[in-house]
């Protein structure tokens, strides 16, 4: 390879997350933060409730982020961000982006009320849910974001999760907020672009980031990006945007979706599933995919 050739950089080079943080090997949530901040930049304040990220960042008085962090209570990511926003507005700072950064438990479950309140007021914040599909920080308990079929410590193999994953995007779209997007750590360019775009929009913005968790999914740490990519390619986690609650855009069209089994078989949390059960999951993915295509006018 020629020595003169430049390194190809498809996302900004600047880092706002340092090494030395406490995430497990191959953690999707830490990659998610690294990418999100590349899109948002230095003028950002982040509110982090109880979740893995409250630990990943590091113990007081140390931090692995180069931006101010406000550690808040589990259910208060959105209301804390609303408060920080109000404070900044009072001192005339309209430039700083306020980011709420919560897990799926903190978003789909306990923080939903605060999030709905902020969205209803259309508070000027970016709310990001990094979704690892369970309460990982406390030892892999099921959340309403845990998918059908999954093992967790509170849905053991004999009683694996039977309930469907909550449609958080549908809930947020019903609030009619100006910007909603899904993003994946396997598609850094798309993800950084969405955070950049969200930064320029005013009002409540919601970004749902798919963040594989090797520790909780019983997957290999090196498969984190592969799993996130398969989630998109199977149609399990499509990449799309919704503007003003109405205008849906599919960001990545997939001609031939991969079978969901390919995604499931790489994760220990689905190891117990029988063929019939996988077929049912496939049906559900197909139904949701068709619905999203329809919403996008495709």
């Amino acid at each position: 390879m020629s020595k003169e050739r430049k390194m190809t950089l498809t996302i900004p080079r600047e880092e706002f997350m340092s090494p030395g943080h406490l995430a497990c090997q191959g953690c999707g949530a830490s990659l998610a933060m690294r990418l999100a901040l590349k899109g948002l930049g230095q003028r950002t304040i982040v509110c982090i409730p109880a979740c893995c990220w409250a630990v990943i960042d590091g113990p007081f008085p140390h931090s692995s982020l180069d931006i101010p962090i406000y550690h808040c209570a589990f259910e208060t990511a959105a209301s804390s961000a609303s408060g920080v926003r109000a404070g900044l507005d009072m001192v005339g700072d309209t430039e700083t982006t306020v980011l709420a950064w919560a897990g799926d438990g903190g978003t789909f479950d306990i923080g939903l009320q605060a999030l709905s309140g902020a969205a209803e007021r259309n508070d000027d914040i970016i709310y990001t849910c990094y979704d690892n599909e369970a309460y990982m920080n406390t030892g892999i308990q099921r959340s309403s974001a845990t998918p059908v079929g999954a093992w967790t410590t509170t849905t053991p193999v004999k009683h694996y999760k039977k309930e469907r994953k909550k449609d958080i995007i549908g809930i947020m779209a019903a609030h009619g907020i100006p910007y909603i997007a899904t993003a994946s750590v396997a598609y850094p360019e798309d993800m950084v672009k969405k955070f950049k775009k969200a930064r320029e929009v005013r009002g409540t913005r919601f970004i749902h980031v798919f963040a594989p968790c090797p520790a909780g999914w019983k997957s290999r740490p090196e498969d984190t990006v592969k799993l996130a990519r398969l989630a998109v390619q199977t149609g399990y986690f499509p990449l799309f945007e919704i503007e003003d609650g109405e205008k849906w855009t599919l960001n990545l069209k997939i001609k031939e979706r991969k079978p969901i089994a390919e995604y499931l078989k790489l994760q220990g949390r689905f190891r117990h599933l029988k063929e019939e059960e996988i077929a049912l999951i496939q049906q559900e993915v197909d139904t949701r995919w068709a619905k999203i295509l329809k919403s996008c006018g495709l």
Binding site: R5, M7, T8, P19, G20, L22, Q25, S63
Partner: protein, 99 residues
């Protein structure tokens, strides 16, 4: 990440040294996570096409770009193997760590 920050662990000798409100005073760079590693990535630069994919996906921001080449920062690399898995040239080998 500003390079000015010290890779030093901050320890308070007494409560008088503590700030009035909880605030971060230093970075996690003091925490040399390379010690977590069992296997380590080794790049064969002769096959590298400088695509930047390994750098892009490292969850620990432990691949630096030095003179336009990827370089593993072994002080922090946790040995997750993601870079090796994603490298399109398959030119990153995960080898047993010698300790």
């Amino acid at each position: 990440m500003s390079k000015k920050k010290e890779a030093r662990k901050i320890v308070f000798e007494s409560e008088k040294e503590m700030p009035a409100v909880p605030m971060s005073l230093g970075s996690m760079l003091y925490n040399k996570t390379g010690a977590w590693r069992n296997i380590k990535p080794v790049i064969d630069l002769s096959k590298c096409i400088k695509c930047g994919i390994c750098w892009k996906f490292c969850p620990d921001a432990s691949i630096d770009i030095v003179d336009d080449w990827p370089q593993i920062n072994y002080v922090y690399c946790k040995g997750c193997g993601l870079c090796a898995e994603e490298c399109p040239q398959k030119c990153i080998a995960m080898v047993e760590e010698e300790k």
